[in-house]
Symmetry: C2
Subunit: 362 residues, 2 copies
Amino acid sequence: MSQVFNFGAGPAMLPRAVMEKAQKDFLNYNNLGAGLIEISHRSSEFEEVLSDCDSLLKELATIPDNYKILYMHGGAQMQFSAVPLNLLNLSSSKTASYIETGTWGVKARKECSRFGRSLTFASGAKSGFTEIPKIDPAALEPESAYVHITSNNTLYGTRWTAFPDFGDIPLVADMTSEFLSRKIDISKFGLIFAGLQKNLGPAGLAVVIVREDLVGSALQQTPALLDYKTCIDSHSLANTTNTFALYMMSLVLKWLKQEGGVDVIEARNELKAKIIYEVIDASNLYTGVSRQKDRSMMNVTFNFQNQDLLAPFINQAESSGLYALKGHRDVGGARASIYNAMPIEGCEALAQFMLDFEKKNS
Amino acid sequence: MSQVFNFGAGPAMLPRAVMEKAQKDFLNYNNLGAGLIEISHRSSEFEEVLSDCDSLLKELATIPDNYKILYMHGGAQMQFSAVPLNLLNLSSSKTASYIETGTWGVKARKECSRFGRSLTFASGAKSGFTEIPKIDPAALEPESAYVHITSNNTLYGTRWTAFPDFGDIPLVADMTSEFLSRKIDISKFGLIFAGLQKNLGPAGLAVVIVREDLVGSALQQTPALLDYKTCIDSHSLANTTNTFALYMMSLVLKWLKQEGGVDVIEARNELKAKIIYEVIDASNLYTGVSRQKDRSMMNVTFNFQNQDLLAPFINQAESSGLYALKGHRDVGGARASIYNAMPIEGCEALAQFMLDFEKKNS
């Protein structure tokens, strides 16, 4: 096959070097005569994988010492349950506040209502979630156990450029689609979580980074495997974890370190996004979905002045080796997900294709 | 490297043909130019994987039409929470009964007590869990929503040869370490679950097979992703599933079908276990851990008359390419896990090694 670029929103492409290394060692990890997925999660070989993940995450994301790193089953959406189950007791009225910048925030808020009182503190619904809503911190319910945000919205292609601050009330961020794509000051957050399947590895697991003073008062009905304390006490091995996902993440993190870390990848990601946004902004055929000031660097969303052009665009792109550009069914249009693993050449190829397509169709 | 046999209890060895196929297609699934783990869980390619799992499970396990098949995050232990969360409402007093044949049954019963009233209906603790306890169905709390058993105990190497019957009260079985290793009449159970990492694939996911009339009355505080109804309604895609685990399971199931299905594998498993048990029974050096009538076909446990021989046994076995024979830390001794993927030659090699070791040490 010739070179293709996969713009899927997730599970997403992984760095080629990582995929090749995993393939090479698939049957015979560390010369054991068995694959990594065939050995115990309590073996010394897997313990090393786990400790690599810990130390590389700590280094790459600059995680302060008073934060714990957990690996939890079920991806980000399981955290929509785990966060309220673990944190609602920080509020005497079991209240939490949500800022909704798209589908995920709405889902998270609804899930919280199973366990306590969940409030929509702000919402971007009025703008069709094409921009991040303005926040008035004074309007926050003071009894909130936490404020939940989605730092990057995969569907609409928006992100928080700067993060809000609510003083003593901890900020909880779903960073699934942008974790490790840009520099973040972890100390501004009470808790961060991210499903692996965008920037970190394959699907099925989430990384949770939590300030340790917030842990230990889970609701009584918290399932054992969703309790942060159980996870911390067992080093995320209260039961058999998704060993393959952690192994792949350890390779992705090693790759990221070798590439130069988050500073280098952030600059590259800015450049990649700019290459595509410049085509959109200069075009009479494409229109950006999200407002310029809130544009995501990970998910570039755009639509067509003439809707009839959408299907041919997607199909012709695919024939040119530019895959999975269809927008989310709730939003329509096109979407290019350009996570850390997408090389600059992929964005250049897409930009060139977009220019050619416009020329042919105007 | 020369041929090795991996007797680890799980994550366990997978069929060689499956591992080779997955390795071959790792970078380029179906000639897509991308690996299966790099594409959407909503792609037509992955939908095919999922539907292969459904149809092969239905066929291989002879699952009746009034049962649903779910794929759920977190392995079997997440089901220790999900089962009571989903089924306790079938009892007006939210009561469930547990038969404890080892660590897993005890854990499951304790987890249930977070959500309702959980009773130890019978326990093998008195025998040190070396045999399946006698059951008096008349003694069962009639308000029980269900009775939970562990069909095969991985630690002690016991199994239920015949299953108990409690009339209208559904039997729930954790079949993690023996699902698809022998013929089971599914219609005798209300619910069966199994983590993948023994007979089905890599770790992180569980298969749940549930009689459909039992679904739909989950407790209000059930996390969305643990609610069987949510899983059924979304075909287990309420969020991004562990696509790799399902893909690997589809390959394992195809392999099992090609081998001749459950009847053939059951006969082979009986033979494999017999090869090792015969050495134990004829020996003055080895002693079986579990009682003969309750012996597992999946986990053969044995100990040493002279405890000083355990460490040299494990080490010399490893040097001979017979890996991971150490017993569970709660039980001691040695354990050979011989799931479906273990070839007869592995059991023969172990038996020969045991005979040689006894000769040298008597």
